[in-house]
Structures are given as C-alpha cells and as structure tokens.
C-alpha cells in the first residue's frame, strides 16, 4: 500500500470522469456561494440565531462522535471478531438508521425515550430525565443516525486486518493487551479516525430525527440545519449565511483532518519507532 515505485498514468477517459465527478461536488457549493449575500454576511449572521445554532451544532455533533467512539468501538469489535447467534441481525439493526425516513427515526426514538415510552418513563420516574425537547435528546438523535458510519468503517477495517500480525506478536510473547495496544489499535487507527470524521459529519448535518425527537427550540435543540430550515423562506439571506457556516466549518475539518489519517502501514511503522 502506497509503496509502489511505478507511477501509473491515467487514461484520458478516467480524467474526463474525474472531471465530471469533481464538477458534481464542487459546482453546487459554488452555486450556493452565489446565493450568499457576502456584503451583508456579518449582519445576516448577527440578526439570525446562527451563533447559538453553531454552538449547539458543535456540542451535539462532537458529543455524538464521542459516543459513537465509546459505544461503537466495542460494537464494531464484537461484530468483526466474535461469533454469536443473531450477529447479522444485530448488524442489520445498526445499519437501519441509515435508511429510516427522517420523521420515522424521530418517532422511533420517541416511542422508547419519551415519558410515555418504556425506557423514557422509567428514566423520568427515577431520575427526572426527560430527553425529548432537550439538548441531550438532540445528542441522542444525532448519535442514533451517525454511529452506524463509525461502526461499519471500523468493522470493515478490523475484518480486513491481516491476523498474521497479531498472531506473530502472540508467538513472540506479547500478551493479549500488548497485542491490542501495539498491533491492532495502530493498524485500525486510520479507520477509527475516518469513522469518527464520518459520524461527526453525519451528526453535524442531522435534521429529521432531531426535529422530531428533540424539537426545534432555539438555544436548546435548534442546530444549524434546523436554523437554516426555519430561516430559508422568510429570511433567505440569513438562511444562506447560516448554511455557509456549516459548509465552511465542515470543509476546513475535512481538508485538515483527512490528510492526516494516513494509512495502516505507516501507522504500524510509527508505533514501532515509538517503542522505548
């Protein structure tokens, strides 16, 4: 991977297809740029609820990414390495949030976590926690739709990992903790990074489950996508200005982080260099 000394030249038609694909992704964003009133951007943002929505979007998307990591890593590991009855059914359920229509995901969460749901009622009675219409609810909705991206990415990496490295480490006397920390984790680290990035991005753009489960409440659950939705008809310049924040933030993060995710072979070399 990445070590081939031969530089392959792309045939001309590949270049054409790449050009079309790139245009498909770049042009709409440039088009969006023409809708933003750049001269009044500052005042549009000040007059809108963009600041508060930005803060909430950061809180919910980062919390969702952290939860995806904390809960999704053991889940991805289990799906990749353990054999148990119902594993493929469990994986099916994990992927379902990817296809649920927006409002349906929210209603599904309400049916469980609202005060009248079987988990929510219990939470409310013993702890006074009411998730719908709260920031915590927005985090839960974002986690529900974004964790699948983390789990599939990491599970795929774990499954395609060459077990020979781990077996060799074990043969050389490494215990299982050492094998995991010195071999497995460095090898899947790039996939974990990519999974985090994907799940964060999905959480940042999350709309449907959030508006249904967490509501559209300024300062509490109105994240950037919800603020854009509310503003785009009545006050389009504020709506497009708010969208531009979402686009700019994500683009910076993607450009800066994706280049640093690296590839597994480099990760392993680096970790062996780190050895004391």
């Amino acid at each position: 991977m990445g070590r081939s000394p031969v530089r392959l030249r792309s045939p001309w038609y590949v270049t054409v297809f790449v050009g079309c694909a790139a245009a498909l992704f770049v042009l709409p964003i440039l088009g969006l740029g023409t809708r933003v009133s750049w001269t009044t951007l500052g005042s549009d943002l000040a007059s809108s609820q963009a600041g508060e929505a930005f803060r909430l979007s950061m809180v919910t998307s980062l919390s969702a990414a952290v939860l995806s990591f904390v809960l999704g890593l053991p889940l991805a590991w289990t799906l990749a390495r353990r054999q148990f009855w119902g594993k493929s059914i469990l994986r099916g359920f994990v992927l379902l949030p990817l296809v649920l229509p927006p409002v349906v995901g929210g209603v599904a969460l309400l049916s469980v976590f609202s005060r009248r749901g079987y988990v929510g009622g219990w939470l409310y009675d013993i702890a006074g926690i009411d998730l719908p219409f709260s920031t915590a609810g927005a985090v839960l909705a974002a986690t529900y739709v974004s964790m699948p991206f983390f789990v599939i990415t990491v599970e795929a990496a774990l499954r395609s990992l060459d077990r020979a490295f781990e077996e060799a480490a074990a043969t050389l006397g490494a215990d299982s903790r050492e094998t995991v920390t010195r071999i497995t984790i460095p090898l899947v680290a790039p996939a974990v990074g990519a999974g985090l990035l994907l799940s964060w991005a999905r959480a940042l753009g999350e709309f449907g489950a959030t508006i249904t489960f967490a509501g559209n409440i300024v300062g509490r659950t109105q994240t950037l996508p919800l603020a854009v939705y509310e503003q785009i008809e009545a006050n389009p310049s504020a709506g497009y200005a708010t969208s531009s924040i979402l686009v700019a933030t994500s683009l910076v993060v993607f450009v800066v982080l994706h280049g640093r995710l690296g590839d597994p072979s480099r990760a392993l070399t680096r970790s062996s260099e780190d050895r004391p």
Binding site: L67, V119, D130, P132, S134, E233
Partner: protein
C-alpha cells in the same frame, strides 16, 4: 448485557454533555412554557409571545416550530409540550381522539390560500384554471402534501373550482414552507400556499389571489395539552392569543381576524 449498555450509556453521557454545555440555564423561579406551533406561524408567534411575556414576566415561552404533522407525531408519542397551535382541524382532532388534549381547542386565527408563481410569472397564470393549463403544458406545480393542512385545503379549493392537476405534474411539500420553497428556488412554476407565506416572500414570488367564492378559510386551532406541566399558564397563553392585542399582531402579519 450489551443491549443494556447500549441503551443506558448514551442517555447518561448525553445528559452529562448537555449539562456541561448549558451554562446559561433558565432561572428556576420562572415558568417555562413549551408551545409547539405550526411552521406557518414561525414569524408571528414570537412577537405575540413577547407581548404576553411583557404582561406575565414570570413566564418564558419556548417555541417548537415544525409541520403540524410532525407536532402531532411528537405529541402522540409523548414529547413534552404545554400547548399546541396547529394549522387546520385534522391534526387537532387526531390529538383529541387520543385523549391528549387538556381542554377544548379554540380557533386563534385564520388564513386563506393564494397562488404564488415565479416573480415574472412566465406562464401568465392568473387563476386556478391557469394552473391546470400550465401543468398541461408540462410545468410543475407545487402543492402541500394531502396530509398537511395546507394540502388538504389546496385540494379542496381546486376541486371546488373543478380544476384537476395531473399527479405527475405536482411536487408535494411536507408543509407550507417546503411548498413555497419549491417555487422560490425555481423547481416549480407556481404553487398554492397560505396568503401569509406568499406575503412573506413577496419579493421572490408573484402573488395571484384566489377569489373569495373559490377560496377557503384555514383555521388555526390552539389547545392546552393533557400532559402540560404548567396548565394554568398554558390556558392564559391560549386565551391571550384571542385577545385584541394578539389579534392586532396576527393582522399585521396578514392573518384574518377571528
């Protein structure tokens, strides 16, 4: 075990994260009233709430704006709100049937429908019949979903006028705002929306009124919910919506008097 952890952890962690971030929490002395309202009221209700809060400083009104269908799904599934203001009777009746209302619903304002076209009205649409003519020429018309109040009313208006739009020429928006967006953003040549939404977008659309005989009145009923945390304040707010002060604000935004 795994499923237990899966269910519990997000709840606990999410609870922590929101507490950590929410430094400016509301004062505990105040009453926080959550009002779920139809998205066509997004621009008018906050002004009315401000006037109400000036009279009742202890009350903080928090709005949750969504389509009437989403609000109905939220309330039916136990989301916490004190009162609802919906567009049309159908979603309110559904809540009533499920015994989720804490009082009789009352109409707080009315709206009518208009035709909106692209600013230069390229198809020269001047009536409901003109909409059908444009559709017959292959243009796309934007209507609210049949299940949204504005969609049920638009279809009623069309059938009263004996106008039929072929399904293949209609793009369906989930609420009045999505329907308007299909016209302002250029996908549809014209649409039928609330007159208030048309007025709010008058720089970006051309408005064709629908004559009174063909038009319908869209009522906005409000009600206190059975699960309200602050029933007394919710009742006063719903009553306030019918007061002359509130009606003046509704009228400024293009709504019809009671």
């Amino acid at each position: 075990m795994l499923s237990f952890v899966l269910v519990l952890l997000p709840v606990l962690l999410a609870g922590c994260s929101s507490e950590g971030s929410d430094g400016s929490g509301p004062d505990r002395q105040r009453v926080e009233l959550i009002v779920s309202a139809a998205s066509s009221l997004t621009d008018v209700l906050p002004d009315i709430a401000e006037a109400f809060e000036a009279e009742r400083p202890e009350v903080d009104i928090i709005f949750n704006f969504a389509s009437s269908g989403v609000i109905s799904a939220q309330v039916n599934n136990g989301a916490p709100a004190d009162a609802v203001v919906l567009a049309g009777w159908a979603p309110m009746e559904a809540l009533d049937e499920n015994e989720l209302l804490g009082g009789e619903p009352v109409i707080v304002t009315n709206n009518t429908l208009v035709i909106v076209t692209q600013p230069d009205n390229p198809e020269r649409i001047g009536s409901l019949v003109g909409l059908a003519a444009a559709a017959a020429e292959g243009e796309i018309i934007s209507l609210c979903s049949e299940n949204a109040p504005c969609g049920a009313l638009a279809r009623q208006v069309l059938s009263q006028a004996g106008v039929e739009l072929p399904d293949g020429q209609v793009t369906v928006g989930q609420d009045a705002r999505a329907t308007l967006r299909a016209v302002t953003e250029g996908g549809a040549v014209a649409g039928i929306v609330y007159s208030t939404d048309g007025a709010g977008a008058e720089q970006r659309v051309h408005i064709v009124p629908i004559p009174g005989a063909d038009n319908v009145t869209a009522a906005y009923p409000a009600a206190v919910l059975e699960g309200a945390q602050h029933t007394v304040e919710a009742v006063s707010f719903v009553e306030y919506l019918r007061s002359p002060d509130a009606q003046a604000i509704f009228a400024d935004a293009g709504f019809l008097p009671l």
